[in-house]
C-alpha cells in the first residue's frame, strides 16, 4: 500500500470508461467515417468513443491525490452467481422446455441468490409464482407462449 491518497473507485471507473471508449472506437474504425457533410455510419460513434476515452482519462487523472470518500463496499457475489443466470436460463429454455417448466426453474435459480432462502420455501415459492404467472400471462393476457415445449416427452 502506498501512502499517497488515491480514490480507488475513481481509478477503476476511469479505467473502465477508457476501456469501453477504446473498445467502441476500435469497433468504429471498421465502419466508414465519411465527411462532416455526409457522415458515414462510423462518424458519430467515433466522436463519442473519443469523448468517452478522454472523460475516462480525466476521471483517472483526478483520482490521484484524493482519498476515497466512500469504501467500495461488499460485492454481491452470490447475487451475481444466481440472479444473472436466471434470465439467461429462461431465454435458453423457454422455447424448448416451454413457458411453465422454464419459469419454474428460473424462479428456483433466482431464489438461491439469498442466503436466507431455505430449499422448501424456495420450492413452494417457485410453484406459486409459476402457477400465478401461467394464469395471468398465458391464460389471462393470452401471450403466445407454448406452455410445454417440444423438449418434453409429453
Amino acid at each position: 500500500m502506498s501512502t499517497k491518497p488515491k480514490d480507488q473507485t475513481d481509478i477503476a471507473a476511469g479505467l473502465f470508461f477508457m476501456t469501453l471508449g477504446g473498445f467502441f472506437g476500435w469497433q468504429a474504425l471498421q465502419m466508414e467515417i465519411g465527411t462532416s457533410l455526409r457522415m458515414g455510419p462510423g462518424y458519430f460513434p467515433m466522436v463519442l468513443s473519443g469523448l468517452l476515452f478522454i472523460l475516462g482519462a480525466v476521471i483517472l487523472f483526478k483520482a490521484f491525490g484524493r482519498a476515497d470518500d466512500e469504501p467500495f463496499g461488499r460485492i454481491a457475489w452470490r447475487g451475481i452467481l444466481f440472479i444473472l443466470p436466471a434470465p439467461i436460463f429462461f431465454g435458453l429454455t423457454v422455447r424448448g422446455l416451454g413457458f411453465v417448466p422454464a419459469l419454474f426453474i428460473t424462479t428456483l435459480i433466482a431464489s438461491q441468490a439469498s442466503v436466507r432462502m431455505r430449499p422448501l420455501p424456495a420450492l413452494i415459492l417457485a410453484i406459486i409464482v409459476t402457477i400465478m404467472s401461467t394464469l395471468i400471462f398465458s391464460y389471462g393476457l393470452g401471450l403466445p407462449f407454448r406452455r410445454f415445449g417440444p423438449w418434453l416427452p409429453v
Binding site: 473507485t9 475513481d10 471507473a13 473502465f16 470508461f17 469501453l20 467502441f24 469497433q27 466508414e32 465527411t35 462532416s36 455526409r38 457522415m39 455510419p41 462518424y43 458519430f44 460513434p45 463519442l48 468513443s49 468517452l52 472523460l55 475516462g56 476521471i59 467500495f72 463496499g73 461488499r74 460485492i75 454481491a76 452470490r78 447475487g79 451475481i80 440472479i83 444473472l84 443466470p85 436466471a86 434470465p87 439467461i88 429462461f90 431465454g91 435458453l92 422455447r95 419459469l103 428460473t106 424462479t107 428456483l108 433466482a110 441468490a113 439469498s114 442466503v115 436466507r116 432462502m117 420455501p121 424456495a122 415459492l125 409464482v129 409459476t130 404467472s133 400471462f137 393476457l141 401471450l143
Partner: protein
C-alpha cells in the same frame, strides 16, 4: 372553449370502462411494486412495462401513467415508513417523513403526502392541458438543428442533476449514446457494434437495457447486505390530519406545487430538483427551521407536492417535443415507439384522442391514488414486512417474462443479464444510471438530427449557432456545464445531494 371540448374528449376516452380499469390496475400495480424498498419509480416502470404492450396504445399509456403515479406514491410510503427511498426524488421526503413516523405521526405523514400529491397533481394536469398544445405549435417549427441542440441541453441537464461526480455523469451519457448506436445505421444500413449477431440488428432492446440497469442492478445492490428492516407500523392509527395540521399544510403544498410545475418542465430530471428546492424554500420560510429534520410537516407536504407536480409537468416536453425529461419519460417514449406512435408535436393533431386521453387519465390516476390508497395503507404496510428474499425471485420471474414478451427474442434476456451486470458494476463505481438511460434513448435521435442538420446546411457546422433558437439552447447548455464546474456551485451542489442522501 377549445380546451373544454378537448378535455371532454380526453375524459370520454379515459373514462371508458376498460381504460378506467387499466388505470386502476396500473395505479395498484405501481404502488405494489413501488412500495418495495429500494425500488424506485423507474425500476418499477421498467419491470411492469412489458405487461402493457399487449394493450391498445391509449390503454397501454394510460396504464403506464397509472403505474408511474402509483410507483411514486409507493416510493414515498417506503421513504416515510422505513427511511429507504427508492429514488432520489423521495429521498427528501424520507428526511422528515421518517422522523414523523418515529414520533408516532406516520399516519399523518402518509396522508399529508397523499393529499399534497393529489392537489399538486390536479393543478399540474391542468397546466399540461393548457400549455402543451401551444407548445406543440412552436415545436412544429423546430428543424433538425433545433432538435439536436434541445437534446444536447436535455442531456446536459441530466448530468447537472445527477448525483455525485459531474465527470462520471458525462461519461455515462456518452456511454448511453454509444449503446444507442448499436444496430443498423439508418442511412446506410451498415451494422454497427452488433458483434456479428443478427439478433441485435434492430438495436438493443430498450426494455432489456432499462430492466437490467435499473431493476437487476438494484436487486444485486440489495443483496449485498441482507439485514432486517424496521418498519414503523405500530402507530398508524390516525390518518387524517386535524384542522391545525391542515392549516400547516396549505402553504407548503401551494408553494411546492408552483416550484414543481415550473421545474418539472425542464429537461433532465426536474422532479428531483423540485422536491429538494421545495424543501429548501420551506426551511427558509419556516418560523422554526430547527424543526426540519426532526419531523416537520412542511418538510413532507412541500417536497411531496413539488415532486408530484414535477412528475406531471415533465409530460409536457414528452408530449410536445417527443423528448424525455427524465428516465421515466424515456421509458414512456420507449413504450410509445413500441406501440407505433412517434412521439413529438404531431401526436396532438394526429391522435387527439390519445393525447387528451392521457392528460385526462393523469387526473383520474391521481384521484384513484387518494381514494384507494388511504384506505389501503394497511395493506401496503403489510407488504413492507414481506421479507426481501421472497420478493426478488418473484421480481426476477416477472422481469424474465416481461422482457421476453416484447419480441419473443431470447437474446433480449441475455442482454438483461449483461446490462444487469453492467449496471451493478457502474453503481459500484458510483455512477448514476439515469444519464445512461437518457443517452441511450436519445442517441439515435441525436445522431439522426445531427446528420440531417449537416446535410441541410451543406456541411456547415455553424448552422447550430446561426439559427437563433438552436444557438440559445446550446448557449444555455454551455452555461449549465460551466456552472456545475464552478467551484462554488459545485460545493453547493454536493451539499444539496448529501443533504438529500442523509
Amino acid at each position: 372553449m377549445d380546451l373544454l371540448s378537448n378535455l371532454a374528449l380526453g375524459f370520454s376516452v379515459a373514462s371508458s370502462l376498460a381504460n378506467l380499469a387499466f388505470c386502476l390496475i396500473g395505479v395498484l400495480l405501481g404502488t405494489l411494486i413501488g412500495v418495495l424498498p429500494g425500488i424506485g419509480a423507474t425500476a418499477t416502470i421498467a419491470m411492469l412495462l412489458p405487461i402493457t404492450f399487449q394493450l391498445e396504445p391509449v390503454s397501454s399509456l394510460i396504464m403506464l401513467a397509472g403505474i408511474y403515479y402509483g410507483a411514486q406514491y409507493g416510493g414515498s410510503t417506503t421513504a416515510i415508513l422505513i427511511n429507504m427511498p427508492g429514488e432520489s426524488s423521495s429521498a427528501v421526503t424520507a428526511i422528515d417523513g421518517y422522523q414523523m413516523a418515529k414520533r408516532g405521526r406516520a399516519g399523518t405523514a402518509l396522508a399529508t403526502a397523499a393529499l399534497g400529491s393529489f392537489f399538486a397533481g390536479s393543478v399540474a394536469t391542468f397546466l399540461v392541458a393548457i400549455f402543451a398544445p401551444p407548445l406543440t405549435t412552436i415545436a412544429l417549427k423546430f428543424g433538425a438543428a433545433e432538435y439536436f441542440s434541445l437534446m444536447v441541453m436535455g442531456l446536459v441537464m441530466s448530468v447537472a442533476l445527477a448525483h455525485g461526480s459531474v465527470l462520471k455523469a458525462l461519461a455515462m451519457v456518452v456511454l448511453g449514446l454509444l449503446l444507442g448506436m448499436v444496430g443498423t445505421d439508418v442511412y446506410t444500413g451498415a451494422p454497427r457494434f452488433t458483434m456479428g449477431m443478427n439478433q441485435f440488428a434492430d438495436g438493443l432492446n430498450f426494455v432489456a437495457v432499462a430492466v437490467g440497469v435499473f431493476g437487476i442492478a438494484e436487486i444485486l445492490r440489495n443483496l449485498e447486505d441482507e439485514h432486517d428492516r424496521q418498519v414503523m407500523t405500530k402507530n398508524i392509527t390516525r390518518l387524517f390530519p386535524n384542522r391545525e395540521e391542515f392549516r400547516q399544510m396549505v402553504g407548503p403544498v401551494l408553494r411546492g406545487t408552483g416550484i414543481g410545475s415550473v421545474l418539472g418542465i425542464l429537461p433532465g430530471g426536474g422532479a428531483i430538483l423540485a422536491s429538494f428546492a421545495s424543501y429548501t424554500v420551506e426551511k427558509k420560510l419556516s418560523k422554526n427551521p430547527g424543526e426540519f429534520g426532526k419531523g416537520a410537516l412542511a418538510g413532507v407536504a412541500g417536497p411531496e407536492s413539488a415532486n408530484n407536480a414535477g412528475a406531471q409537468t415533465s409530460f409536457i416536453p414528452l408530449l410536445t417535443l417527443g423528448i424525455p425529461a427524465n428516465p421515466v419519460m424515456a421509458l414512456m417514449i420507449g413504450a410509445m415507439i413500441i406501440q407505433g406512435i412517434v412521439p413529438g408535436p404531431n401526436v396532438v393533431t394526429e391522435q387527439p384522442a390519445l393525447f387528451w386521453g392521457i392528460i385526462a387519465s393523469m387526473w383520474i390516476g391521481n384521484l384513484m391514488l387518494v381514494v384507494l390508497n388511504l384506505p389501503l395503507i394497511g395493506l401496503w404496510v403489510k407488504l413492507l414486512t414481506v421479507p426481501y428474499y421472497v420478493l426478488f425471485p418473484i421480481i426476477m420471474a416477472m422481469c424474465s417474462i416481461g422482457v421476453y414478451s416484447v419480441n419473443s427474442n431470447p437474446y433480449d434476456l441475455f442482454a438483461v443479464a449483461f446490462f444487469g451486470l453492467l449496471g451493478y458494476v457502474l453503481s459500484k463505481l458510483r455512477c448514476e444510471p439515469a444519464p445512461l438511460l437518457l443517452g441511450f434513448v436519445l442517441g439515435p435521435l441525436l445522431e439522426e438530427n445531427l446528420r440531417r442538420a449537416m446535410i441541410l446546411s451543406k456541411g456547415d457546422p455553424t448552422t447550430f449557432l446561426t439559427r437563433p433558437i438552436s444557438a440559445t439552447l446550446l448557449l444555455l447548455s454551455l452555461a449549465i456545464l460551466v456552472l456545475v464546474f464552478l467551484p462554488q456551485i459545485r460545493k453547493r451542489r454536493e451539499e444539496v445531494f448529501t443533504e438529500s442522501d442523509a
